[in-house]
Symmetry: C2
Subunit: 455 residues, 2 copies
């Protein structure tokens, strides 16, 4: 994947897409088409029927973009073949993004050092085959280790406590572990994970895998290398861990308090169960999208708060969606700096590169514009209320997969809107963020000390 | 209003409020309290009853903050005394903001020149009595001229075509002209201005006064001084005129297209009437808040688009609300710059001061947070749907005054939320914007060429 030197120089007015981001954009399209065709085939359907192309493409997009929105009941609609297609698409999509985003963010943060060459054409950033192999090995090792560990715990629990046969327990353990680590949110039960609402042996391992996947590869690598030696952590690692803690605690408190007395959601559980379910549902907004309580029965104000959580997402270069917690953190620190009247934006003891300010702004506002436009389309194309449409659009863009229950009943035009939002939320945010950041690399010399990844 | 030199120096961590902004904040509180007490008295009520304090304070806040949201029918509920209280509050609030914001923005844009002294305490910016008298005279002259002209046209039309007696026509002409120029949106007809939906002799003069008030004092002064000699226009004038044109044309197209076939709104009119009513309603989102068609009968998607228009508002240092079109323009130019990959943000031929970037971001995001929090409260405190609550909160924060028709039926807690939003949208945006801008004045030497007012 070397810089293509025969390429004409691009005009200044053009968005310079980094090559790895282009590979992701095309690779995702290809995987969606192939996966969609396979899922449309009669072998994938448990009744041997062809599936409509819109529904098949929707499911394939939802799997590759690790979203988890579903227009059919995954548990009963698909054959084992169909389910294997889905989980393979999830693993490809999740690992693919993680690998490419990791390469990009290492490139951006100057961690690759001499291995990185930037050609004179600013948009042609090249990585050597060696870089890619090393990064791929580490991503694969970390991902498969966490997935295997989670799968074992889940399989044992399914086997011992839920009357699953050993092969079924292993299959379900593997499927839900992969779906969790990749923040996909697909489940093999018709009520998603509502049957396990008060079982910490299912909820907690899944939450654990989701959170680790959402931290992102650069953070996982630093945690493995430096452990709790916080002095060695990069600004990216500090921001991701801080924001993850804030959002998990804040989200748990918000959902638990709002739904405490709602008999259709948390109200039916004992206090410990309410806390467990509230925590589990808060984790899902970072952006896995399983549900152990009925999202459709929640209070509209809870939906509204979750919209924000889903739009934010989790860490960059991980399996989560959203505009990323680093983007939000940068904006928050800018506002704090303005209110305090300081000259430079200082973040947890380091100065924030000024070029990141405008990038964060651009990613956040264009993301908000995408969700707004998508919501507007859903309000126009359906009779559903604004709160449900906004929730659906936020969930699709954030590649979360939670729904108030309207996805399957949407007209094809609305499904196409969600397909676009899922693709934009997954590929668009990464491409935009990395294009902006790579292009600004020239300013790296004049300006700042360090930069977190945006988008 | 000289700098108080005996005052202890403020710590860096404190928001430095400019003195004029403090005067506005307190003056508005005083006017709301006095006006509220007068409106609560039996002399104000046409049946001689006391009005509940919440409703009276709501109406006084709505008048002083030139919002126009109403919890009672202004036309029938209030006596002539009550109506005069309301129009006096509107004129005080509108002129007061315009005067103070103009002083602040002249100060910021360095237009006062040698008359301005900044003391060593950065937050103590002082204007001489002479400055204030000159500015006040110009503001008064411009405002009263436009109001008088509009009032004449309206009075003649009311007198000749609507069977109003001459005194009634003059009174209604004056009231609606003041209400229009100050972007207040109060009307003396129970159906607001729906009776004049297809009358250009009422719609257009009112639109004209609204737009002029919304341009803001600095723009009016430059237009009067330089006319169409665009080379002499400041960046602020260019941005305000450009954005006003874009929002008027875009808003008219949006509303007209969305409602074209809606029999309860535009659908009942002939094509020319639809265009006139669409234009009139588009003007109202900048942020006057009259209505000539039934807002409650519009499509929810139209509401959603209008939410954005209302949140944006019009020009700074005028009578309009919202986060201001200059704020939005700055954000838009930043995004365009990022997408193009330019180093500096160039706006219509001039370079944008870098210190404005973070100010615009801060004003816009804190404004969005206020609307979000207000909407969340309305969803919690009432059973109304999200689209109506969001519309109501956007309308209150943007001091627009349009409503889907729920204001009067809200519980007191929700009314208190709207009162806070109106005050925040009027006083908070001005104070925040000017505090941020004045505080950053020290950087004026190192940094930029010119700055538009933010907030
Ligand atoms: K997901
Ligand atoms: K208004």
């Amino acid at each position: 994947m070397r810089a293509n030197s025969s390429r004409p120089p691009h005009s200044r007015g053009q968005i310079a897409l980094a090559q790895p981001a282009q590979v992701v954009a095309l690779g995702f399209l290809g995987a969606i088409l192939v996966g969609g065709l396979l899922l449309a085939s009669p072998w994938a359907n448990s009744e041997g029927q062809f599936t409509s192309l819109v529904d098949a493409i929707f499911t394939a997009t939802s799997a590759v973009c690790v979203t988890g929105l579903t227009v059919v009941d995954t548990a009963t609609y698909y054959t084992l073949f169909g389910k294997i297609i889905i989980i393979v698409l999830i693993q490809l999509g999740g690992l693919g993004i993680m690998l490419v985003a990791s390469l990009l963010s290492m490139l951006l943060m100057g961690k690759i050092g001499t291995l990185t060459r930037l050609s004179s054409q600013r948009e042609s950033s090249a990585l050597s085959g060696q870089d890619i192999r090393t990064a791929a090995k580490t991503v694969l090792f970390l991902s498969l280790s966490i997935e295997a560990l989670t799968a074992c715990v889940l399989a044992i629990r399914f086997w011992l406590s839920y009357d699953h046969s050993l092969p079924l327990a292993l299959w379900h353990g593997a499927f839900h572990s992969i779906s969790a680590f990749n923040n996909a949110g697909f489940a093999l039960y018709s009520d998603n994970l509502m049957g396990f609402v008060d079982d910490p042996w299912i909820s907690l391992p899944i939450s654990f895998a989701i959170i680790l996947g959402g931290l992102g590869f650069p953070v996982l690598v630093q945690l493995r290398r430096y452990g709790s030696n916080t002095l060695k952590w990069s600004m990216n690692t500090r921001l991701v861990l801080l924001m993850t803690a804030i959002l998990l605690v804040g989200g748990t408190a918000f959902i638990t308090i709002m739904e405490w007395n709602n008999p259709k959601t948390l109200g039916a559980l004992d206090p410990a169960g309410r806390l467990l379910a509230g925590f589990f549902q808060s984790v899902q907004t970072r952006t896995a999208g399983f549900n152990s309580i009925d999202i459709g029965a929640m209070h509209p104000a809870t939906w509204l708060g979750m919209d924000v959580l889903m739009f934010i997402g989790a860490g960059p270069a991980g399996t989560a969606g959203g505009i990323k917690i680093t983007t939000v953190a940068v904006l928050a620190f800018i506002i704090i700096t303005e209110l305090r009247g300081d000259a430079a934006v200082n973040v947890l003891g380091k100065r924030l590169s000024r070029s990141v300010h405008r990038q964060a702004l651009t990613v956040a506002l264009l993301g908000a514009a995408a969700v707004f436009a998508g919501t507007m389309c859903l309000v126009l194309f359906t009779d559903y209320s604004l709160d449900r449409c906004l929730f659906e659009a936020s969930s699709a863009f954030g590649t979360v997969g939670l729904s108030t229950g309207i996805t399957a009943d949407l007209p094809d035009a609305a499904k196409a809107v969600l397909i676009s939002l899922m693709y934009l939320g997954r590929v668009g945010v990464l491409s935009l963020g990395s294009a902006l950041a790579l292009r600004n690399r020239k300013a790296h010399y004049e300006l700042p000390k360090e930069r977190p990844a945006i988008g």
